[in-house]
Symmetry: C2
Subunit: 441 residues, 2 copies
Amino acid sequence: MPKRLNTRDPQFDAAFAQFLGEKRESSADVGAAVASIIDDVRTRGDAALIDLSKKYDHVDLEALGLRVSAEEMRRAREACSAETLEALEFATARIAEHHQRQLPTNERYTDERGAELGWRWTAVESVGLYVPGGLASYPSSVLMNVIPAKVAGVPRIVMVVPAPRGEINPLVLAAAEMAGIEEVYRVGGAQAVAALAYGTETIAPVAKIVGPGNAYVAAAKRQVFGAVGIDSIAGPSEVLVIADRHNNPEWIAADLLAQAEHDTAAQSILMTDDAEFGRAVEAAVLRQLQTLPRGNIAGESWNVFGAIIELQSLDEAPALADRIAAEHLEIATQDAEALGERIRNAGALFLGAYTPEMIGDYVAGPNHVLPTSRTARFSSGLGVLDFMKRTSILKLDRNALAELAPAAMALARAEGLEAHRSSAEIRLQSEQQPMPERASS
Amino acid sequence: MPKRLNTRDPQFDAAFAQFLGEKRESSADVGAAVASIIDDVRTRGDAALIDLSKKYDHVDLEALGLRVSAEEMRRAREACSAETLEALEFATARIAEHHQRQLPTNERYTDERGAELGWRWTAVESVGLYVPGGLASYPSSVLMNVIPAKVAGVPRIVMVVPAPRGEINPLVLAAAEMAGIEEVYRVGGAQAVAALAYGTETIAPVAKIVGPGNAYVAAAKRQVFGAVGIDSIAGPSEVLVIADRHNNPEWIAADLLAQAEHDTAAQSILMTDDAEFGRAVEAAVLRQLQTLPRGNIAGESWNVFGAIIELQSLDEAPALADRIAAEHLEIATQDAEALGERIRNAGALFLGAYTPEMIGDYVAGPNHVLPTSRTARFSSGLGVLDFMKRTSILKLDRNALAELAPAAMALARAEGLEAHRSSAEIRLQSEQQPMPERASS
């Protein structure tokens, strides 16, 4: 049974706070094991990757080779159905087109005191993408991680994916090839993250590592952070659907289940101002669950973490939605657009009854890597800017320096930093240009 | 003696790699102590803040009150010299003006299939700024952290600053007031970070915590990350100066010392294609050190971490500078602009002989909170975007859904996610609009 909350309930505030505070994941403490794996890879390089892959993935990389060959990539593509490849191509084009709009612009201007200012965006020089093996090996995630990096102009993008018993999902390789990745290694776990961060004989290190993974991968990313950049560490997925009674309960039920089928720790929340509609949705969920292939997973998620929040009025929705700060926010109300504008915190917004969240998972264009677990309060979905960085620019001539130096020198003195002060003063005291040409030049 | 490296040396590659790998900070392992402080604040709230401040800062917050009053802020301003206040105002205006240019724009468009797409930037709802006490209590850092948040539109900005023996640097309070902060608490250390993250009776929690601090503060930020957002954890500061012989060695020496005086762990690197010029700079550093108030600190930094890298040609500079990925990069060469364009990794670029880095520390406009310890390979200086987040938007009508659904459904099926597929299919199979109005409505 999903949780039921009602804003009319005098205990609502406490119940809602408790609901927000619920942990949906018990992150196994694998820190020590991961530290020793990272150490091993740093010390022994490829040999460690081979041994660890034998142990964890039951695969002999000495025989197969660490790198996935171009021929294997080609064969993987041939193993995919034409329909799926077409769908991947459709998705690739749309994701690329949307992300191109995110490309930032450089800035350069001269201010009224003659100082030249600005900034320049440059792509991260190299990126490693971790792709999980087995069931969670999703080609759509490959596209969502690689395309923004490509659009950003990252010159080198590497993919690592474990090959349990030698197997890699052909769709994952096909998606990688389609997105333009040529450098793929069949290694996973903390050892793959260590190889990307520190390099081995075969794998040159990268500057940033992205992509989802299990507890070992997450712990490894945390441990190598600083040596390299990482993306955010994703928690279980969630959806908040705000729906009034002008909806088909079956549609809304389907959306709640689409979220719930990801993972038993996923969370689906319905917020409605109509109790009867809420009950109709709940009944529809139970009906649809009976024929769902992943019904066990979805059912457990819905029963343990699902919730129906009844409002007295949709006016209560923005404040509550902001506290939930959902990864996915569907608004299916008469004035979805206006309600959406009143909500600050959400990873992605899906407006109107004909916008099921799943379109955003695959083909809409915006990224499906989004902030989970209330982190939409302070972070954004993956995008082009995650693969670029901004360098500020300052250029002064003697006059501009003379304009700016007095205030800077006063502050340096106030902060007790005399060498700071002096580095401006020494330039203003010199009568002549830097240094005369030497006779030898 | 600073390190000397020469690209002509056959051992250069190994020596340079070792140089890059040097640790400049031994971060004390205070994780367990910090975890117990955070626990204490979560359990006992204000009472824990009072006890911990008595213990660590020798201040009685029960008597003084946790919150700094408006009257104290006013008195602090009166305690500052007019010259310093004017300089702070000059800096405030310039920093605000530059950061306003960073404000991102929202996007909304309808694509050729009728799908409405876009994104919306919103400010983080509340931000806490940590300001260190004692010697490292810099008013310029207050401005650099607060102004981007103000420009982003953050509705609530809170400052915490420890008050050892009751004292707070009046310049810090004056800068806070000038930047528009009204909510200031005199508490520091891990306990302040815990209060910002989880809240106490007096301090409401925030969504993101920024600002520098000691090992305890850094560890506390790491531990509360996830519950709230944090900025990057800054390491010791560094400058790389690329200079040819057409420079006054005294000027360049002053810039190296301005960096070195920050901290014994700071790093100043000179890269030059002229050995004689390098020796002249080194001699000038020694001369200037003798009269520098913070000569002991600067001297230790220069002798332990300083370096002079001799190049055969300035053409070697970009590749080496990219590996150093300096926080501050000064280029004082004949063609500084062109050389700068060939370098990918740097936090901030200072072009030409009349652009000492210190101007950027105080009044230029760009932020002085910049990526340290080679993290400029994958991250940027603090800016307006650090206080905003992007929500993607999707809005479909029945026709647009019909255009996008087939590919999305094919991918959902390929990934084994039938409830995903079904949430699109169910909408396309229904003939009618969502749900008819009920008689009761």
